[in-house]
Subunit: 426 residues, 2 copies
């Protein structure tokens, strides 16, 4: 199905980050256009994915979850790219996690067969989207999170009126954290509400997001608490299916969740199905997730045993726009192009078109110090060999808020030849 | 031309911020679907433009520039919406300003007849876009900025090879600022480079961006310096056309630029054509530009004389997603939906679907304190009457970085009925 869609999906020829394309060109045809970043066939700034690194990361995570005997529903909000979702599914992902009803709609339309919406489904306009998807394809697997009795009742009312069932996960949260029930009285209130809609709501498991905590011991405490509650709820016969989902893990602590949840079981005759939800492993970065990776490599035995770690795969290329002062360059790359909330882009490569064969590693003292909407300020030493028109590659921190700046992202090989393109659906 | 395009431009039915649309629906048809925000016909979160306020702001700016006898080329990077560009052109804008070649391409494809690119045109891939546009439509007016001899030579070479002319503006900048020449030796080097391409490069004026400075006296000094240089360059016969463009003004200091540049002239027989470039006046905000507006109302006699000031027109609606603790609500609105770099969204209205007829002003102590990709944390008093499923409207600070989170933005009347939709082309 996806291959068919891709054949037909037209490039946004008015969008940024492409070369010269004829209107009507498709994403599928992008790899055969002969474009090269270094040959300036493309309008900069541009976002590229290094294909071999994406493949490396896909294989890495597949091996990791296999070693722990857990499943993977990567958070798709990171990329919102149906082509990347398909790569993740082809590398062993059980399904895709998403954050909103409209994200679910976009993924389902591109053939994602199983979706966890890691949020409550709130509001008539959003419930209508899910009801329509379930109606259109009875084999489509969807579940969402519940942490409030009011929401459970609202869902029960809406989906019973629409004569549909809805699978839900009970969400646990940490005091001072984000969503999720905090205590046993909230838990009981939600379970009571769910019980009011026995023909409609089906509790299929438990969910948490540990990423709002920053201390490992607090995370392990929460995970152990949630595992214990899952086992207790199973004994109470709260779960209605033979597999009980237990899902956790953002992109920073998935190893700890695997350690705590892997190889655990229920004392009922139900199977515990552990599903991890990291999203950023696919592209990784050189900022927040590099730091997380260092901790994982230092402390997780499976990751250490696997040797090579995740590789940063998402890069931005931009021109030197001006060198108005001897210690300052202005780069044609801004908040419109890159995340800036978890560290500014890091200068990685320097290339002078027409004068060099291949990019050189950029000096480490070429540092972006601030960004505006369409510009970055770079401090450079007085002696820097840098000119207007030079090309720079930047690695990034926080892939999620970089992806949503681009409607299409180019795939490149190690020589920066374009091998394809993926769309995003934000 | 635009009306035709709008008739045909299809809604991104998989995108966020819409109601239930049939595939193939167009932007032009959005206003007749009978959607209402308050009736939950739309999937939240959603971005809306209050139509009457947009119209108010359009008229306000038209009157302002007429009073000063200057022209307007609003910075289109703010909204990147061809429908909003068309409204600005219909309200007296001479043209549209843009930041990048791909933005120029998108605007030109939607019928914008005159474009200032307020940046150097750097790189073969970007020059190719402009050359193609000039080739396709000889009546298309385009000019861009030059502040480096290297860039002037690169442009001269590229456009002479393509047997085209290119209009350019000389950019002046401030020491410690962004782009633009800093001193007379840089000025001379650029003028010398321009003179090397007499058949190709046509210097049509001067440009500056004062918004990198924060002190009014420094801004006035820069403006007076640039005016003096423009007059001097005119005497040197550097400008080739009968109208000499003198362009400045972002969204914060356009009044000061109008005061300094309005009613000035050249001592040659050329006409000085002053063009202001504010972009954010169209939607205004309740943050950085509200603060700018307060200064303008306090100090600019024309703005004061005009009475009412600009009105915030861009709003975001989102659901209360969870109320997990008595002093904390989680809102289904994140960095994916709103600017967060110049102040967080401000809670404006509270509405409980099914229980209220119209939204109420939100208590001022319902304050967003932090945002994640898809969630906001809101502090509330213990007694707050707030429930999962309640709808909240938020005003924003920094429209530019809010617009680029949305591919379609709904137009609403004062009752939050949907009257139309506009697309964005980021």
């Amino acid at each position: 199905m996806l291959a068919n869609l891709l054949q037909k999906t037209q490039l946004d020829t008015l969008g940024k980050g492409l070369g010269r394309v004829t209107p009507g060109s498709t994403f599928a045809g992008c790899g055969s256009l002969g474009w090269s970043i270094l040959n300036e066939d493309v309008s900069l700034p541009v976002a590229v994915l290094r294909q071999s690194r994406i493949e490396h990361n896909l294989v890495w995570m597949k091996q990791f979850i296999e070693r722990y005997g857990v499943e993977l529903a990567p958070h798709g909000k990171t990329t919102m790219s149906p082509e990347l979702f398909q790569m993740q599914l082809a590398h062993g992902a059980w399904g895709i996690t998403l954050a909103t009803a409209s994200q679910v709609q976009a993924a389902a339309a591109h053939g994602v067969p199983r979706i966890i919406m890691a949020n409550q489904l709130v509001g008539k306009g959003n419930m209508a989207i899910i009801a329509r998807l379930q109606q259109a394809d009875p084999s489509f697997y969807f579940c969402c999170i519940v942490d409030s009795a009011a929401n459970a009742d609202a869902l029960g009312r809406y989906f019973s009126e629409h004569q549909q069932k809805l699978k839900i996960l009970l969400e646990y949260g940490a005091q001072g954290g984000r969503t999720g029930i905090r205590n046993l009285s909230q838990e009981q209130a939600v379970l009571d509400a769910i019980a009011r809609w026995p023909q409609t709501l089906s509790l299929v498991g438990v969910e948490l997001y540990e990423g709002v905590l920053s201390e490992e011991h607090a995370i392990r405490d929460l995970l152990q608490h949630v595992l214990a509650r899952t086992q207790a709820l199973a004994l109470q016969n709260q779960f209605k299916e033979s597999h009980v989902i237990l899902s956790g893990a953002g992109s920073a602590w998935f190893d700890v969740v695997a350690e705590e949840f892997g190889n655990k079981s229920l004392s009922t005759n139900q199977t515990l199905q552990v599903i991890l939800r990291p999203g950023c492993y696919l592209t990784h970065d050189v900022g927040v997730y590099l730091n997380a990776e260092k901790r994982i490599q230092a402390s997780n035995p499976v990751a250490r045993d696997m040797g090579r770690s995740l590789l940063p795969a998402l890069q931005l290329w931009a021109y030197v726009q001006a060198v108005p002062e001897s210690n300052r360059a202005i780069i044609a790359l801004g908040k419109r192009d890159a995340a800036f909330d978890a560290g500014l882009p890091i200068t990685s490569l320097h290339f002078r078109p027409g004068a060099q064969q291949r990019p050189q590693e950029a000096p480490s003292d070429w540092q972006i110090t601030a960004m505006m909407d369409q510009h970055a300020f770079m401090s450079i030493p007085e002696s820097a060999d840098i000119e207007v028109g030079d090309m720079l590659a930047f690695d990034i921190s926080h892939p999620c808020l970089t992806f949503d700046k681009w409607r299409q992202v180019l795939l490149v090989d190690e020589q920066y030849q374009i091998t394809g393109a993926v769309q995003t659906l934000f």
